[in-house]
Amino acid sequence: MIDNLLLGFSISLSMDNLLYCFIGTILGTIVGVLPGLGPSATIALLLPLTFKLNLTSAVIMLAGIYYGVAYGGTITSVLMNIPGETSTVVTCIDGYQMAKKGRAGPALGIAAFGSFIGGTVGVIGLMLLAPPLASVALSFGPPEYAALMIAGMTLVTYLSRGSFVKSVAMAVLGFILACIGLDPVKGAERFTFGTLTLIDGVGIVPLVMGMFGIAELLNIAEGSVKREGYIQERWRLRKLLPNKQDWRDSAGPIGRGSVVGFILGILPGGGAVLSSFISYGLEKKISRHPEKFGIGAIEGVAGPETANNSGTASAFIPLLTLGLPFNVVTALLLAAFIIHGVIPGPLILKKDPAIFWGIVTSMYIGNVMLLILNLPLIGIFINILRIPYSVLSPIIAVVCFIGAFSMNYNDMDVLIMIVFGIIGYLMQKFGYEPGPLILAFVIGPIFEQALRQSLMLSDGSLSIFFRSSICIALLSIAFLSIISPWLRTGYRYIRQLLREKGGGNVLVNGKE
């Protein structure tokens, strides 16, 4: 192992590769900040430029873009309530609230540190556990996916602070929005109302930017959003970084986020996205103060930010060890491998160890670069908040317009985003929160496909979900997650009852 690491570092620390890693991470951060353009579009654009590079340098640069995006996406989520990336949507919930309270610095700081720790844990996991975990991911069939999505959806209630029924209604609406367009299996039109505009479905970017960015702009316009004392103050680095209490609050979420992100990142589909939502739900569920979530809890930033970065690192496991790309970005990276005549897979460790270890070790270096780059930038980015809302609002609007347009070069996406902005604004006014809707929209297509395939395999019998141990375990987690609030209440009631009967110490007003 040590020999391999030394070999890897000897490659990744060469001047050329350091430069490509630096370019990749810088580009990734910029792309992450810009809403609309994701890592897949950027890598696709830059892929032809890598033809002249050697494979290791090409993949080092492209991988730098991939994990750099997760760092950059946080900045707009925290400062403007516009998620730069889908995986940073959940950061808006508490990150933006922290910014409104004058704590944008600690939010961005903990996100940068969490991202670094998550990314590093992901790379260490990639190094140590790649082959066995890849085979576990391969054992996931449609029923296992459906069960995983069900387990993920049980966290819906923890994404919002309001009514449980309203949260579930929003999740259902998210699933319905995901159904718009062509059916993924048969190609039948659904909920298109006969218009061509909706035949491709609703894009995640117009939806998310509308629900978060435009809705917030409308709140600012009507005068209901106020900033609390963070324009007049001069910023000092010490005030920008998380304090001891922040670290104490964030240590657990960062640790758990690393594990959640790593595990879910290996799975096909939106691992990093799902992991950030699950991490948020998990933190809220186990927190002693769940009421703090949604109004600026640092745990709500630390956990998801760590999880999405850990997930980007572990997404390399199936690519490098099995040659299977489980998301669009890793598919493009596979294309880079194929263009250079190398097929990643189980033999890459034996045949081309220099490539494997060069890429893996470059990810350590990339994460260090991103941390060093991001920390000093926090002070610069925070200065955005010194600009009054009256000037900042139209600029944010322009960022949203261009972000929505740049996805498909379609003006209808801009109009759809505005419509969702108005809907998002009205939802807030009527006590509905967008979190469950976004989560359901993201996992909706994967869930529907997995559910339909599973039921087709079993001729419509639900017994297929109880045939594999993975399914049973995931459904048990989902079941426990649903009943845990009642279990907790029951446990407290029984404990109090036993105390009253046993020792005679009766609780009066909370005191014995």
Binding site: L34, L37, V165, R190, E222, F401, G460
Partner: protein
């Protein structure tokens, strides 16, 4: 809040009915299992049930005050102007061109809605146009619509 719950619950119920009607043309179940209409049908029914629960919950909290229906904050006029400017941008930028529409949008919002100085308005418009062109058009190859600007440039070139 109860009044708002009645209205939002009622609205979601209407949405669920419309969606339910839309699923009539889709096949929900085939011999091999669920088909394209299965998920939309189940979801529309589920949404209908949830909307009725929201209405029922509001009805059951009779003791609580009905609440107000007021939605807009203190700056209603500004809110409407913002929505008009957003929709205007969305409708015009493809036909008129990105740069001209962006300049008009910034001018409208900063100068007329937010009552900022001419100097700041012009600086913001120029910076927005230049930065978005450099970042998106040049650097990331996003084809920003030129609209009538391209016709004018073509005519000047022809002359």
């Amino acid at each position: 809040m109860r009044k708002k719950d009645y209205i939002s619950g009622g609205f979601l119920f209407i949405v669920s009915i419309v969606l339910f009607i839309q699923t009539r043309d889709l096949t929900a179940w085939e011999s091999v299992g669920p088909s394209e209409g299965f998920f939309p049908l189940a979801l529309s029914i589920f949404l209908g049930v949830l909307s009725l629960i929201i209405i029922m919950q509001a009805w059951m909290q009779k003791r609580k005050p009905l609440g107000t229906l007021k939605i807009l904050g203190p700056q209603e006029g500004k809110f409407i102007l913002y929505i008009v400017s957003f929709i205007g941008f969305g409708l015009l930028f493809m036909k008129v061109g990105y740069s001209i529409t962006l300049a008009a949008f910034i001018l409208f919002v900063l100068r007329i809605v937010e009552k900022q100085s001419w100097k700041l308005t012009i600086i913001a418009a120029v910076i927005s146009i230049v930065v978005s062109h450099v970042l998106f058009s040049t650097f990331l190859s996003v084809p920003l619509p030129e609209g009538i600007l391209s016709i004018i440039i073509d005519k000047i070139r022809a002359i």
